[in-house]
Amino acid sequence: MRRSAFVSACVAAAFMASSFTTAHAQTDASIPKLPASSWKPDRPVEFVVQAGAGGGSDLFARTMAQILTKEKIVTVPVNVVNKPGGSGAVAYAYVNGKKGDPHVIATATSSYLTTPIQGHSPVNYQNFANVAILCAEDYVGVVRTESPYKSLKDLIAAAKAKPNGVRIGGSSVGSSDNIIAMMLNKAAGVKLNFIVFQSGGEANAALLGGSIDLAGPNPSEAAQLITAGRLRPIAMFSPERLPKWKDVPTAREQGFDVTFEQHRGLILPAGLTKEQQLFWQNAIVKMFQTADFKKYMDDNGLRPLLKVGDDAEKYIAERNKFYVEVMTELGLAKKR
């Protein structure tokens, strides 16, 4: 028992060192200088969202579409079109069918990478131009106020004493919560009992009702429940403490090297000219600097993380490598 725990801790340490330290901390976004573009859109732009209306990605897209129009960065109408389904597979198959069309742009978050890795999508990130990364979401470990766990250490100690005895809930396999649970298992040599819900909301309800012990929402999602004294934050899964959440220690500080972030970016269909790509890069950089977009990031607890063109491509390739490792570890990656 002790031996196996020791071995798995060693394996975990080696694994962490090799792969889980790819988190990118960037507090003040450096604004890239880009040459102007000679091309501009001449008919309405279709802004594709890989999720339904009212969700995080939809809000992301609608905010950007509104700013692009309001600030006259794009002078043609920008129409947001929701193509939910198949964890992004439906939307990206659609965008892939628009090869060479510069009037299509789409939002992309982690499902853009994880769905193809699971073998659920015929296209992957290499089929698109990964034009920009804009921001990153952090995650916070929360328990309900009645919970006996005051810190991540308490929770891990309980999990050590009783494998599978501590329950963590999250939305869908391969989601941020699932990845955090797996990374905690690795880092602390424990086995948390991961229970899948259909959405973050359902997981939060289960947490408040005591059906699960731990959940890992975004800080902004949990903010009110924490302020109202219903939930207690026990660890931040970011590399450093967040400015707005100074008194919540990171998991790393508590001795568990677990950091995880989820990016939000934009993609274009493949086969665009250099000038067309440059137009969108310029537009996104301009949009990023507006007060409205800063307010959006602030309201939603998003960390600025601006990368365009080659930098964005590089970031996506790195994240993909990270997710391949994680999904393989979770047994979710499709074997080739």
């Binding site: 209306a53 009212g54 389904g85 964890s87 015929p122 396999v173 959405s199 909301g201 009110q224 429940l225």
Partner: protein, 499 residues
């Protein structure tokens, strides 16, 4: 609750702009509910961008108006053309359409409007006085309790349709099987998707329902006209009678309670509540055999329930920031969009939004009653249009509606396919309602079962050691045993009588 809060609410709700947008909301909601193929959640989502730039409270008033307005409107197509506009109206088709065939469409629509008004208003009172403690009750419902509730739902399936029980159960099993299509929630493995990305999320309720009910019914009418002649009844004779009211008032009351309490459970919602309300009425009725042939209680109960449920779903949204249904999830997104953090502090940090919304719901329900009661005969008179004119229009609207929900042609194909299946089922006397209900319940049942077993690490004890789940399961067992026992008794009595 401070009466000043409600006064504040009414001062906001009765402001001319808010009154106007409440009216827009309930009016659009009625239309969205009436259009086959577009449900309230798609309706709210589609109209969400329209609310940009409005003050948050005005926007919420309008969106909520669309939501509960759609519950009123959903009745119209269920009654007139046997097509539920959303899953919570499926039960209404059973007796509502039969009433329409007997020329009593106006009575069905009128009673549904009255029932919805009473249910809507009473549940706003519950929302107003007891949202926080009720929300705590709702979240204490864990996966084992959901499982028990779904089992109870399934046990009532057999009793839902008149005619052959075997045929009803058979199509329910087909519905359960269809519900297994899509990504396995617990393991992430695709099931029966045949490498088609459109099947990864499973088969949606809406295209199946529109296909089976609307298209199937219409095809059948072309084949063997049920109603060759348009209805010729007088408009004035189309309102509910005093007798209808006497038959319905208790059903409305029970439907309201069932609807509100089931509706506030995140994820369970309006569908299962309308379902349980109908089954309850049938079980309590002195003449259960007449259900499915056009009794007014069969319309009043589920219509009251689905309306109360739409208000119930606002309880966890407003008190905890947790959406209880697809539509409230969109409304949650809307709140965030207006720069508000939904959660337990919403009522205290934005009292104008909460109380304005509550007050507007009283006003909105009155508007809907005024709108729907006189309109019931007008809508009913749609049936005066010859079928040959009506059919192509309905098919066009239905297919457009199905497409618009996800902007996806695949669902249009599903609708047409299930239209053909629906025609065949109609031809051979297989009822469509158990299929679509099983399709809705199956995935919820499976999810709750597997979550519970994951919680207990595989031990089924969890279902009986938790008191609420044990109680509901015992109730479900009774629901199955009771008809069997009474059947045996009746048979023995018949034998003794013969001997």
């Amino acid at each position: 609750m401070d009466p000043n809060d409600l006064l504040l609410g009414f001062s906001i709700a009765l402001a001319p702009t808010n009154l106007l947008f409440a009216f827009f909301g309930v009016f659009l909601g009625t239309i969205i509910g009436a259009l086959p193929g577009i449900g309230p959640s798609a309706g709210v989502a589609v109209l969400l961008p329209v609310t940009f730039g409005m003050p948050p409270v005005t926007a919420m008033i309008m969106l909520a108006g669309i939501y509960y307005g759609a519950m009123y409107g959903g009745t119209i197509t269920s009654v007139l053309i046997n097509t539920p506009g959303e899953s919570s109206s499926v039960m209404t088709t059973l007796d509502g359409f039969q009433m329409a065939l007997k020329g009593r469409a106006g009575a069905a629509l009128g009673m549904a409007a009255i029932g919805s008004f009473i249910a809507g208003t009473l549940s706003v009172v519950l929302l107003m006085v007891a949202a926080p403690p009720l929300a705590d009750l709702a979240v204490s419902f864990g996966p084992p309790e959901y499982f028990a509730l779904m089992v109870l739902g399934l046990t009532t399936l057999a009793s839902l349709t008149s005619g052959s029980v075997v045929k009803g159960l058979l199509v329910a099993v087909v519905g359960l099987l269809l519900g297994t299509v899509g990504i396995d929630l617990m393991l992430g493995a695709p099931r029966y998707t045949f490498e088609n990305v459109n099947l990864l999320d499973g088969i949606d309720f809406l295209p199946v329902a529109v296909g089976l009910f609307a298209i199937g019914e219409l095809l059948f009418n072309l084949y063997r006209p049920v109603r060759a002649e348009p209805i010729k009844a007088k408009l004035s004779g189309l309102l509910p009678t005093r007798q209808d009211w006497r038959d319905s008032w208790a059903s409305i009351g029970r439907g309201t309670l069932i609807g509100f309490f089931v509706g506030m459970l995140p994820g369970a919602g309006a569908t299962i509540s309308s379902f349980l309300a109908y089954a309850t009425e049938k079980r309590l009725s002195k003449h259960p055999e007449r259900f499915g042939t056009g009794v007014i209680e069969g319309v009043a109960a589920p219509e009251s329930a689905n309306n109360a449920a739409s208000t119930g779903a606002l309880v966890p949204l407003m008190a905890l920031g947790i959406p209880g249904s697809g539509t409230t999830a969109v409304m949650l997104g809307a709140l965030t969009m207006y720069g508000m953090q939904p959660g337990p502090l919403l009522v205290s940090t934005h009292p104008d939004v909460f109380w304005g919304l509550v007050a507007s719901m009283y006003v909105g329900n009155v508007m809907l009653l005024i709108l729907n009661l006189p309109l019931a005969p007008v809508f009913a008179s749609i049936l005066r249009v010859p079928y040959s004119v009506l059919i192509p229009i309905i098919i066009g609207i239905a297919l457009f509606g199905v497409y618009s929900v996800e902007n996806n042609l695949f669902n249009v194909g599903i609708t047409i396919l299930f239209g053909a299946i629906g025609f065949a089922m109609r031809l051979y006397g297989y009822p469509p309602a158990p299929l679509v209900l099983a399709l809705v319940l199956g995935p919820m049942l499976e999810k709750a079962l597997r979550q519970s077993l994951q919680m207990s690490l595989g031990s089924p004890e969890i279902f009986v050691t938790r008191p609420v789940s044990a109680f509901i399961l015992a109730f479900a067992l009774l629901a199955v045993l009771f008809p069997m026992i009474s059947w045996f008794r009746a048979r023995r009595a018949a034998r003794t009588a013969a001997a």
